[in-house]
């Protein structure tokens, strides 16, 4: 076997190696494993749904068996009713294949993602469920039900691309480095964004003023725990502290909130006694310092006393009480006993992470102990012994991954499907005069009349809806704070933008509306997990973060089953003692393992940490386990040793110093650890870990900014934004993509100055800029104010040349809906009508556009005609002879690049859908936006002839000239260094490593390093050169800083933005110009603009803008009564139209003409009524809206009167 593909990369250009990789993609594995790692959380979370014992299996267990009763629900209960048990045994998901109706494909029935993309369909697989049902204690019967087609994540275990090598991927019309992680819905690539949610199974101490709104006595203090079931769904439990010292337990069920005294839950969970609860909260009876705990003792006493009111002494009676109250809420069958209902309540609602199905007594004890711990923490919070936890800190957060959310929705839809059987069952009962389920009729009817009529069986449709809109339709709300915006389009504008979608994590739409900025703050807890600079500025700033490139997310729980035994071996006691400083809790995933002294806790922590890094098999402490030792402090975070092994956790690699080995740390433990940033910073006796690289804290995109440590930090933020707006190379399989709009840079180059990560992430496959010779000089004045001068010859050689690809879909089925499956239209010219020669200019014989033709506004894209099915000939025939057209409606010139003829999946239908890809050439023009990689953006202001540009002694002329004023206030020193480094790299033929934090003032500065290189090449040490004026040929009086900088062309182009008009479309009601660039509207001269014109005294300009170019209207006005509305044109009785225009009279001032009126003064109005007088009419110019206002006011009975002089 050939040696496996090398996956190690350096800063070097590796031109030949990349060429070979590109020419013959490797057949074994990808050369860029870091890319696949970056999207791993998405794919693995999706895979985790389907695997044995995975999310879906757990969900089915949690859904359990649904019970329905027969008989009239309103009839008085006489005899026991029959029970129908129904459960989902298994759910299967097939890979995407052709539907069985397609009889033409025999060999390869796979539907590959590229086909879904090209045909604008959904990449989906068939989902089926095996359901079982029985009546009373009969035998289980089963059937496999079809649940529709659900969208499938690319490269997941249900995707054809899963284990494909780059060579196979290229054959499947994908990128060689396709990494999947998204869905294709209606041809659009959709990704479920990661969402940060509260850390699971950890009780958070919260102070929230909104808590007081729950009722009288409520204080802002509480404990919140987000308890996560094995299937990944969560149930938030909260404890509220009341003014009198009591505690209420709060939970939400189906979006409604409920409150229960916590004592009721405690006594329902286990058979307990007051003394047990007392000691559990306050501490062991014999422990020291009990006398100092009067505060807690008082409150626990109150807690116990107030509960006596309910008079519920035993576990059974408490459960029955709870069951009776919550039976209707939990939708339990009517004949279930109260005690069972109570148990069901405890299982579903109370701390379900400690036991969600088949709950054992042991698990109930765990819940009891955890609840006691939470009460302890709450009292400590109230007393001031413990501080509140900041829910905005990453320490108390985890990621809700796309796959997990998908699985949660799937679970809910399955459960809803079972629940929805209630209505068809009742319907059946009503129609069959309440026959029992045991009847023969039910046997025969169940599948056809009940199962088939259940709503919500088409789960595929629901999932497609979720993915295409991002809206969550859910009766429970899934314990999330938002219902929309879960999915986004994975735009492939360029590769930075695309990869960023997979690394972004959103705080939640709810937080976006908060007026406070606290949630957006960059907290030290985020160090190393969330990139401090890669966040957009503006509305989503600080809410939409990106993970650092080394940060990983656990997608499955690791095996921590050995931990309780190990901890027990290291010594913990089961009971807490009275003083906080003597009893550190030891928890694993929200389960209390015991209590111990702080010394003991830190010993347990250190030992476990050692074992975990050592990775010895007999100890089996997984390396991904998080060991958060919160030390005892004076009023700090509630102390304890909290261990987490669950999914969704962030973790990142650092080096563990005692063993010099890899360790993973999580955000919970990190604040209490001493991790040195670099080797020299290690403090002996204190530091336990050291970072591998200081750049590990940066995201993939932020890492690409060269020498970013020399820049002012906002500039690096801007670069992260602009890098994602650059016209680049979105991919190499462009001809198999049909994005609505893609940008492409034709002349992309690899940057000379780049970090090694550039190669590790394979970014040279997707170049997005050009190395430009940049002179920093104020040359002609055209580089003022962030403008840049382009070298005209460089432009003509292709600098910044790009194109836009747009896809237009011509669908004949549009609007036909799913109602009639008959073909009503066909592409092509009508066979019985004439075909004009002008039509054929752009269209071919088949009525489709010729590939390669140029299109302009109004040109025909495709021809079609209506058809109806002729029974006689068995053919589709056109009857009207009419040919209709799809038109190209954009203003810009375009070329037909590809025409895709799309057939139906069954291979039977004639052409109904067409996908036409157009290319719009976009050479760089004046007004287009460019930027360097340092947040230095500017627009091209002039294309300067090369002969007139300055030249250096070696004859080099700049491609770009920028103004020196761009630097002093922005302090992007990194750009200077990049310029020098680029120049040195170009001169020596080297790729330059631009990793930040590589240089320092002590050993060698960056300037010195590159200065020496320049000196070696015979250039000025500082990168300055004497330049000669291109016009006079004389040397400029000072040396000019000139070097090589990588320039990006941004997608904001004047051709998409310019908006001019003198006259144009107007609003028909007001007569004012409409808005909108697309429709040829105007730009509003608003209040502030008006103020500016007023202040300048430019009255004519103001008149022109606000009146002449707007709703200038000439109108007639009656001088005597001062009204617009009463004037009317006269109608001549004899001639149809008199020369000299219409005469206008005022009807209001006129009098009805009788015989006495002079004939020459009489006029006739539109209704033929003869009048005379009312001839004092003036013609005035007024704004059109004024007339409108007048009519509106007239409608309200208000008259406007205008006095007209002259």
């Amino acid at each position: 076997m050939a040696p496996s593909t090398d996956t190690t990369w350096s800063t070097d250009f590796d031109t030949v190696r990349r060429q070979k990789l590109f020419q013959s993609p490797p057949k074994d594995r990808t050369a860029y494993p870091r890319l696949a790692e970056a999207v791993e959380p998405h794919i693995e979370s999706f895979n985790a749904i389907w695997e044995q014992g995975g999310q879906l299996h757990q969900a089915l267990k949690d859904i359990g068996t649904k019970v329905f009763l027969d008989g009239d629900p309103y009839a008085p209960p006489e005899e026991p009713r029959n029970r129908l048990y129904i459960r989902i045994q298994d759910v299967f998901l097939d890979k995407p294949v052709l539907p069985p109706s397609n009889k033409f494909v025999l060999k390869d029935r796979r539907v590959l993602p590229s086909e879904s993309r090209e045909t604008h369909r959904t990449y989906k697989g068939k989902m089926t469920a095996r359901i079982q049902w029985k009546i009373n204690n009969g035998d289980w019967q089963e059937q496999v039900r079809d649940l529709g087609y659900v969208p499938i994540m690319l490269r997941s275990s249900r995707c054809h691309l899963e284990k494909m090598s780059p060579a196979q991927l290229a054959n499947a019309k994908e990128e060689t480095e396709e990494f999947g992680g998204y869905f294709i819905v209606n041809g659009i690539e959709k990704i479920i964004r990661m969402l940060s949610v509260t850390r699971r199974n950890y009780p958070l101490a919260i102070k929230r003023s909104a808590f007081t709104n729950r009722g009288p006595g409520f204080t802002p203090l509480g404990i919140i725990i987000r308890s996560v079931r094995p299937d990944g769904t969560s149930q938030t439990n909260a404890l509220h502290y009341l003014n009198d010292g009591n505690i209420n337990f709060r939970f939400s069920w189906r979006k409604a909130e409920y409150l229960v005294p916590v004592m009721m839950i405690l006594s329902a969970l286990v058979e307990t006694s007051d003394i047990e609860i007392f000691q559990g909260i306050v501490g062991k009876a014999s422990s020291e310092g009990l006398s100092e705990r009067q505060f807690v003792i008082d409150r626990v006493e109150l807690l116990l006393r107030t509960y006596k009111v309910y008079n519920l002494q035993s576990k059974a009676r408490s459960r029955a009480y709870l069951g009776e109250k919550f039976k209707p809420v939990l939708q339990l069958p009517e004949d279930m006993s109260d005690e069972d209902a109570g148990s069901y309540f405890l299982r579903k609602v109370v701390l379900p992470h400690l036991g969600a199905n088949n709950v054992t007594d042991r698990e109930d004890t765990d819940k009891f102990r955890m609840l006691l711990f939470m009460i302890r923490k709450l009292y400590a919070l109230v007393e001031g012994d413990a501080a509140i936890d900041n829910p905005d800190a990453l320490q108390f957060q985890e990621a809700l991954l796309g796959g997990q959310l998908y699985g949660m929705i799937l679970k809910e839809k399955l459960e809803e499907w079972l629940n929805s059987l209630r209505f068809p069952l009742q319907e059946w009962g009503r129609k069959q005069t309440w026959k029992p389920f045991t009847s023969h009729q039910f046997q025969t009817d169940f599948v056809s009349r009940v199962l088939a009529r259940a709503t919500g069986e088409d789960i595929g449709k629901a999932m497609s809806y979720f993915l295409s809109t991002g809206n969550l339709v859910s009766p429970t709300g899934l314990d999330l704070s938002q219902t929309a915006g879960f999915t986004v389009v994975a735009e492939k504008l360029n590769f930075y933008r695309f990869i960023s979608h997979f690394r972004m994590i959103h705080r939640g739409a709810f937080f976006a509306q908060l007026k406070t900025t606290t949630v957006r703050k960059l907290l030290p807890e985020s160090w190393g997990f969330v990139c401090p600079i890669h966040t957009p500025d503006g509305a989503p700033c600080g809410l939409l973060n990106h993970l650092s490139h080394t940060c990983r997310i656990a997608t499955r729980a690791v095996d921590a089953s050995a931990i309780p035994r190990l901890v027990a071996g290291l010594g913990v006691s089961s009971q807490a003692s009275a003083l906080l400083e003597n009893s550190m809790v030891v928890q694993l995933d929200g389960r209390v393992l015991g209590y111990c002294s702080p010394k003991q806790a830190s010993r347990i922590h250190d030992t476990l940490r050692y074992w975990k890094v050592q990775g010895s098999p007999e100890k089996s402490v997984p390396r991904e386990l998080e060991l958060g030792l919160v030390p005892h402090s004076n009023g700090g975070t509630y102390p304890g040793l909290y261990m987490f092994s669950g999914a969704s956790r962030f973790y990142r690699p650092v080096k563990y110093l005692p063993l010099q080995k890899l360790d993973y740390v999580g955000p919970f433990e990190q604040p209490y650890m001493s991790i040195a940033c670099t080797d020299p910073e290690i403090v002996s006796g204190d530091s336990t870990h050291v970072e591998y690289e200081p750049t590990d804290i940066l995201s993939i995109v932020a890492n690409q900014t060269p020498f970013s440590n020399y820049n002012q930090s906002p500039r690096n933020m801007y670069q992260c934004q602009m890098g994602k707006q650059t016209m680049g190379t979105p991919g190499t399989a462009l001809s198999y993509r049909t994005d609505n709009k893609t940008y492409r840079l034709q002349t992309g180059q690899t940057p000379i100055v780049r970090p090694p990560l550039h190669n590790e992430y394979g970014l040279d496959n997707f170049p997005q800029g050009t190395n430009a010779v940049v002179a920093v000089i104020s040359y002609t004045g055209y580089d003022m104010d962030d403008a840049m001068i382009l070298n005209k010859s460089a432009h003509e050689r292709g600098f910044g040349y790009g194109s836009i690809y747009k896809t237009k879909i011509c669908d004949l089925e549009e609007g036909r809906g799913g109602r009639s499956r008959k073909v009503q239209k066909l592409f092509g010219f009508s066979p019985i009508g004439t075909v004009k020669a002008s039509w054929r200019e752009k269209l071919d014989d088949d009525g489709l556009p010729r590939v390669g033709t140029m299109l302009q506004n109004g040109d025909y894209l495709a021809a079609w005609h209506t058809v109806s099915f002729d029974q006689g000939t068995g053919e589709l025939e056109n009857l009207d002879g009419q040919t209709n057209f799809f038109k190209y409606k954009d203003d810009e010139l375009a070329f037909v690049e590809e025409v895709r003829v799309i057939g139906a999946e069954n291979g039977l239908e004639p052409l109904q859908k067409l996908s036409i890809k157009l290319r719009i050439p976009r050479a760089a023009v004046i007004g287009d936006k460019f930027s360097s990689r340092h947040g230095q953006k500017g627009v091209a202001s002039q294309k300067w002839p090369q002969v007139d540009l300055p030249f250096s002694e070696s004859g080099i002329q700049p491609d770009v000239i920028i103004n020196p004023h761009a630097f002093p206030s922005r302090m992007t020193i990194g750009m200077f260094i990049e310029s020098m480094a680029g120049k040195a790299g170009a001169l020596h033929g080297l790729a330059i490593d631009s990793t930040p934090f590589k240089f320092d003032e002590q050993s060698q500065t960056a300037v010195d390093f590159f200065g020496e290189q320049l000196k070696k090449a015979g250039y000025n040490y500082y990168g300055n050169e004497p330049l000669y004026s291109g016009i006079t040929g004389t040397e400029l009086s000072c040396d000019i800083f000139i070097g090589v900088v990588y320039y990006q062309r941004l997608r904001h182009m004047v051709n998409d933005k310019y908006q001019v008009r003198t006259t144009g479309p107007i609003n028909s009601l007001t007569g004012q110009p409409i808005k909108g660039r697309k429709r040829g509207g105007g730009i509003r001269v608003g209040e502030m603009e008006r103020d500016a014109l007023l202040a300048h005294g430019t009255a004519f300009l103001l008149q022109d803008r606000l009146f002449n170019c707007s709703d200038y209207t000439k109108t007639t006005l009656c001088r005597s009564c001062g009204s617009f509305l009463s004037t009317t044109p006269t109608v001549n009785e004899f001639t149809r139209k008199k020369r000299g225009g219409l005469t206008v009279r005022c009807r209001r001032c006129a009098k009805l003409a009788d015989n006495t009126a002079p004939k020459s003064d009489v006029w006739t109005d539109g209704q033929g009524i003869r009048r005379y007088g009312g001839d004092d009419i003036a013609v005035v110019a007024v704004p059109g809206v004024l007339k409108y206002l007048d009519t509106e006011l007239a409608g309200m009975g208000i008259r406007l009167r205008y006095s007209v002089d002259r």
């Binding site: 086909e115 004439t834 039509w839 054929r840 291979g907």
Partner: protein
């Protein structure tokens, strides 16, 4: 813009409804496409189902026009 009108196609384009033979000819003429999967030629007439005869693939590409494409350089 000077668009070179291909001489070969103009006759078919100006089909006269009275000329029955040529009309049928022009509308029943098969246009050839390229299969998106096996790259073979697929001849299709008006109203025929869209699939590759060879492999059954459902996406076909229209071929580049054989008419001369010429634009004025500016």
């Amino acid at each position: 813009m000077s668009n070179y009108a291909g001489a070969a196609d103009t006759t078919a384009g100006a089909a006269n409804p009275n000329m029955n033979a040529s009309e049928i000819d022009s509308h029943q003429r098969a246009v050839s496409y390229t299969c998106g999967d096996c790259d073979q030629d697929v001849q299709l007439r008006r109203g025929e189902p869209i699939r590759c005869r060879n492999c059954g693939h459902r996406v076909l590409y229209k071929k580049r026009t054989n008419r001369m494409v010429q634009f004025e350089a500016r």
